[in-house]
Amino acid sequence: MTAATATAAAPTRRGATARLRGIAAQGPLFTGAVVVLVLLTLMAIFAPLIAPYDPNAIDLGNSLAGSSADHLLGTDQSGRDVLSRLIFGARTGLLGPLLVVVISTVIGIALGIVAAWRGGWVDSFLSRTMDAMFAFPAMLLAILCVAMFDAGLTAPVIAMTVAYSPYVGRYVRSVAVQEKARPYIESYRVQGWSGWVICTKHLLPNIVPSVLAQSTINFGYALMELAGLSFLGFGVQPPTADWGTMVNEGQSAIMKDAFMPGLAPCFAIIVAVVAFGIVGEGISDRVAKREK
């Protein structure tokens, strides 16, 4: 067991500085995207410290004020500070997709690896099941979930997790099938290891980087779709600050020539989605380079 922990510890020890250098070597775009994601995360965590105002403090006398020194991004129809709501919105904006991605990745990895490793009827059964789940429109599922549970973060997260798991599962299966055929995995079988040990100690760690790349890109998509649900009113409910609901509320402001309340959250969503996309692509590039 000591040997195993030593190998596990080695990469992390080498980690910190080498990893930073690795990120910088990937190019300015990738570095920029990583910085954006780190800032977004910090913003979400420290929202109460950073936000200049209470995001829910209503000041009807100061509704739809343009940007000023007091309110950098102005105020919305209820006179709430747009910047503060944007900062707090990052919390639900990132938490939802995080839950979706983590849970769907875990489920997807389990399904994908079992299908790839067992092959035969197990593979057929799991693959067809995943296909069937895949065919069901995610939005419809989400609306159904909202009807079953309640509006809020839970229902859309469950729906999105159900929608994303087969997606991850199919991807993991295809990578794992390739990996399973590699001689190093076969040599572990020849040595007499159980399938469980081979999968968890050797196969999984070697496919995790490519799965992680895929999941990072998924993070962006999940963020967008959850914001979409909020926008339609199926997600996070007002008055909680959330980018999707903010866009919804901002619509009517645009009619009154106040663009900030609607455009600022739009911009935040775009920046986050693009950043996740770039980082995901970057990671998969690095995996591909390593494979060579």
């Binding site: 040997a3 990469p11 040599s187 079988r189 020849v190 007499g192 050797h202």
Partner: protein, 292 residues
């Protein structure tokens, strides 16, 4: 010499007395994929400590045959027995799986794909000792790892390295040491020198010859390269389209081939004085036999 084999027995927990005198018998092996008969009634015998070449081109069934012998695939019919113990069907339980692994080990063709990229050379061999050894103490295993690496001509520097730091020849040495770590009676070498540079190939052949002389391990040497087979095997079977077309002592078969296909194979090997007309003639002779 004596001391070495004693430590080996202690570390591995196999009875050296039994190592001598066990014959690998393969009888009537068949395996189909769909309509295609990949292996069709293949039989051969590997005497204890012998070296048997399995020669054939792509599609000859040689890879499928040895995959069944080592247990990576299951035959449709026929028997594979080492020392009378049948191993043609799937193993029942962990004990049988491990016992079989201790009997037959394998070295794969591609040194770049046959080692887990995340595991250092030392750990890769230590794993095998932990799985198969009676002795769980670290010191005993460390000594054995060093001994095995020394046997294949690798030192302390390579022991701590990840596979990506090693050349193709060094990786193949690691693969051989890893196979020996389980203390097998039979070693299957699947085109084990085909991917190496000529000067390195000779080093590995040299090493394999020495290991056989010193330890009396039997070799199943799978290759398309007749010149290599001539120097490393005692007996040979020639496979074509899943069937054995010729078998016998290697020197006899190569100097006095009986089957036109064997003759064609021999004529095709390039060298000074290589004659395309003679090859064409051999090909016609083969066509005449197979057509009728």
């Amino acid at each position: 010499m004596k001391a070495e084999s004693k430590t080996e027995a202690a570390a591995i927990g196999t009875e050296p007395a039994a190592v001598a005198g066990e014959t690998l018998e393969v009888r009537g092996l068949c395996r189909s994929f769909g309509d295609h008969k990949a292996v069709d009634d293949v039989s051969f015998t590997l005497p204890p400590g012998g070296s048997l070449g399995i020669v054939g081109e792509s599609g000859s069934g040689k890879t499928t045959t040895i995959r069944m012998v080592v247990g990576l695939d299951t035959p449709d019919a026929g028997s594979i027995a080492l020392g009378g113990r049948e191993r043609g069907r799937k193993p029942r339980g962990r004990a049988e799986r491990l016992a079989r692994a201790r009997e037959i080990q394998m070295v794969f063709q591609d040194p770049y794909l046959s080692l887990d990229p995340r595991i250092t050379v030392r750990d890769c061999i230590d794993e095998v000792l932990r799985l198969h050894g009676d002795h769980a103490d670290k010191a005993g295993r460390d000594a054995r790892v060093e001994e095995l690496l020394d046997q294949v001509g690798l030192g302390e520097r390579e022991a701590g390295a990840l596979p990506k730091r090693l050349s193709g020849g060094q990786r193949q040495r690691v693969a051989i040491a890893r196979a020996l770590a389980a203390g097998p009676r039979v070693l299957i070498l699947d085109e084990a020198v085909a991917a190496l540079d000529v000067s390195i190939q000779a080093q590995i052949l040299d090493l394999l010859g020495r290991i056989r002389r010193e330890q009396g391990i039997g070799y199943l040497f799978v290759s398309h390269d007749l010149a290599v087979v001539r120097h490393i095997t005692d007996d040979v079977v020639v496979l074509r389209n899943g069937r054995v077309v010729e078998e016998g002592r290697t020197t006899d078969v190569l100097s006095r081939p009986q089957h036109p296909y064997t003759r064609l194979l021999i004529d095709s090997v390039p060298g000074p004085g290589w004659d395309p007309d003679r090859i064409a003639e051999s090909r016609r002779a083969l066509a005449a036999v197979e057509g009728g």
